[in-house]
């Protein structure tokens, strides 16, 4: 490690602080907003010190929004539940399909293999709007419009390529001879896959699953077009706070806090797995 001058250390500290403040400020501000009423929020100049209120959270959880124009039903908790169902459904399906596929792409070199793998990845590059219009027409034909199954299916465009490409890398890092040794001892190909390859790639699979969960959770456009009120996730549901009598900043802030909390926790958790997964690669035989 090279020695740094005092000035260098101070400069680095300052730069880091600046970046941290830049990225953390909005999150802190949202957190503060979520404990204020609309009047407090819109006060000019804004104040750091205020009397906190839980009214926003109460409104969200009870589903009753009192505005100047009267009482409004909101379905935030339902949206949160939808987000959870849709994202986890999508991730589970993507894992079931993607992990075996990733293994196949990693282990077997077959005709058009690279092409197929890349095509799947390219779903991530395509703008969602490109597929949405034809997709919604098809979905109406097929009766998949506004169903959990339909939305989970579309979410595969988000989750599947991620899982496929991340997990494939993990499988490629495992020496195939570890599986070969197991197979020689009298085990079948599929046993080697489930008992050797999957556990060894476990941290990678977990990381890929959590990452794609977060991506699904944050998706907005697919659900906006394909789901009606009772199937909408939080990202779309938050639009309900833009009401006839104004924008309910306090509730929006509380809703954001509630909806990022699960993904934030997951992200912290996934980070641990990512590190573990990467260190496994270093000791492969």
């Amino acid at each position: 490690m090279e020695h740094e001058s005092l000035a260098g250390r101070i400069f680095r500290g300052a730069a880091l602080t600046l970046i941290l403040v830049f990225f953390m400020f909005p999150i802190v501000w949202i957190l503060l907003m979520s404990f204020q009423t609309n009047e407090q929020i819109l006060r000019i100049p804004p104040r750091i010190l205020f009397e906190p209120t839980l009214a926003n959270y109460e409104a969200l959880i009870s589903g009753q929004l009192r505005t100047a124009a009267g009482n409004l039903e909101i379905t935030f908790m339902r949206n949160l539940w939808n987000s959870f169902v849709l994202s986890s459904g999508a991730v589970v399906l993507a894992l079931l399909l993607g992990v075996p596929a990733a293994y196949a792409f990693a282990r077997f070199k077959f005709r058009l293999g690279e092409t197929i793998a890349f095509t799947l990845l390219s779903f991530r590059f395509a703008p969602p709007l490109l597929v949405l219009l034809p997709l919604s027409l098809y979905y109406q034909e097929l009766g998949l419009n506004d169903t959990y199954v339909g939305i989970v299916w579309v979410y595969q465009l988000i989750a599947l390529p991620l899982i496929l490409w991340i997990v494939r890398g993990y499988f490629e890092d495992i020496s195939p001879d570890i599986e070969h040794a197991y197979r020689l001892a009298g085990h079948s190909w599929s046993e080697a896959f489930t008992r050797i390859a999957v556990p060894l790639a476990g941290p990678g699979i977990a990381a890929a699953g959590l990452l794609s969960f977060i991506f699904c959770w944050n998706n907005f456009i697919f659900a906006l077009i394909l789901a009606s009120a009772d199937k909408q996730p939080v990202t779309v549901g938050a639009l309900a706070f833009v009401t006839a009598s104004g924008i309910q900043y306090g509730q929006i802030a509380a809703a954001i806090v509630l909806s990022v909390t699960p993904t934030l926790l997951l992200a912290l958790y996934a980070q641990r797995y990512l590190v573990e997964g990467l260190s496994l690669g270093a000791v492969k035989g």
Binding site: D177, I178, H180, R183, L184, S188, L200, V283
Partner: protein, 371 residues
């Protein structure tokens, strides 16, 4: 019928965008029960490919493999009854050394105490009994290699394939293990093929040696035979330390025999009686042949061949004397020391009966006499 029979095996690796690699070419080989065979050859000559085809991780492009009389080349690896120690060790990281070895016994349905008895016995044999509870990532490469070897040897299998099983070990330990493994294999009548590029190891451990080059089996014979009756130029120049001296000589018919010469001092009369029909035919037809002489067969001090000494080394039990003669480098190995210095001219004695003669295609048409 042999224990293992390979019939005209070919292996071609085809990958997109790269030229096909013909790694093994029409390989024929039969191994007897209880025999230990070494696959000897330079890097990339197809040794590992051969083992992997027998184990079942690579398909054969052409040919057939039979083990104990059953065709195995279409069977999945699990049903071939073959054990293998891999070049890259390939231990299972989440398990301890003990579990890694015991893992190989799982499908044999042994009692728990029998498993641990066997694991401990083999661990003692390869000197890893003190690291049985360690994990693969914390032990050295040499230790990993021995764990991998133990994992293969602990099983009951019809055939053991060992890919460079001792490459990472220190010479002393290697010599000890070689002896122990040889007696283990002999005691249990285990049939084994191991890969090595170390001639000493091949001759110490193997009953017979396969010399491979460029995917082609050059010769499959005992060490003694490889040395005394090399099938071709490649084997002649590959086997032996230092390698055989090779000179190109002119051929002239001389009565019923032939006269081979490489310059005025270096000329030999080969009588026609010692040659078979084919050899006589070749010698009569070609103007020049390659001639090989083992360094140990050259006498130093007197003789017709005058050599200008380039180096004279005493290795403690033998002298290696190298010199130049008729444009060729000749090396002689003798059991005593001589006083020659670089630049001196010394006489070498080469007897015609000690010449190996190779035809234009490299095949040996006449072997040197033994003794």
């Amino acid at each position: 019928m042999g224990m293992l029979e390979l019939r005209s095996i070919d292996k071609v690796y085809r990958s997109r965008g790269r030229p096909a690699v013909h790694a093994v070419r029409s390989l024929d080989m039969a191994v007897e029960k209880g025999e230990i065979v070494a696959l000897l050859g330079s890097s990339g000559c197809g040794k590992t490919s051969t083992l992997r085809m027998i184990a079942g991780f690579e398909s054969v492009t052409a040919g057939s493999i039979a083990l104990r009389g059953r065709r195995i080349d279409e069977l999945p690896p699990a049903r071939r009854k073959v054990a293998m120690a891999f070049e890259g060790y390939s231990l299972y990281p989440p398990l301890t050394v003990r579990e890694n070895i015991a893992f190989a016994l799982k499908s044999q349905q042994l009692s728990r105490s029998e498993v641990s008895r066997r694991v401990e016995a083999i661990a003692r044999l390869v000197e890893i009994d003190d690291i049985l509870e360690s994990y693969p990532r914390v032990i050295s490469g040499g230790q990993q290699q021995r764990v991998s070897l133990a994992r293969a040897l602990v099983r009951d299998a019809d055939l053991y394939l060992l890919d460079e099983p001792m490459g990472q070990l220190e010479p002393q330990l290697r010599a000890v293990l070689r002896g122990r493994i040889k007696s283990l294999l002999a005691e249990r009548e285990m049939t084994a093929i191991f890969v090595t590029h170390d001639q000493t190891e091949a001759s110490a451990l193997a009953d017979r040696i396969v010399v491979m080059e460029d995917g082609v089996l050059q010769q499959f014979a005992s060490e003694k035979e490889l040395k005394e009756r090399p099938a071709n130029l490649f084997v002649a120049s590959f086997i032996g330390e230092p390698p055989m001296n090779l000179l190109e000589m002119e051929v002239k018919q001389a009565g019923s025999g032939f006269r081979l010469s490489a310059g005025p001092d270096v000329a030999f009369d080969i009588s026609g009686d010692g040659l078979d029909q084919a050899a006589r035919g070749v010698l009569a037809a070609v103007p020049r042949v390659q001639v090989g002489i083992r360094p140990q067969r050259i006498g130093v001090g007197e003789g017709a061949v005058r050599v200008r000494i380039g180096s004279n080394q005493w290795l403690g039990d033998q002298s290696h004397i190298a010199g130049e003669c008729a444009g060729y480098l000749l090396i002689a190995v003798i059991p005593n020391r001589i006083a020659a210095r670089p630049g001196d001219v010394v006489q070498f004695a080469i007897a015609p009966r000690h010449l190996n003669i190779f035809g234009p295609d490299g095949v040996c048409i006449r072997h040197a006499e033994v003794s």
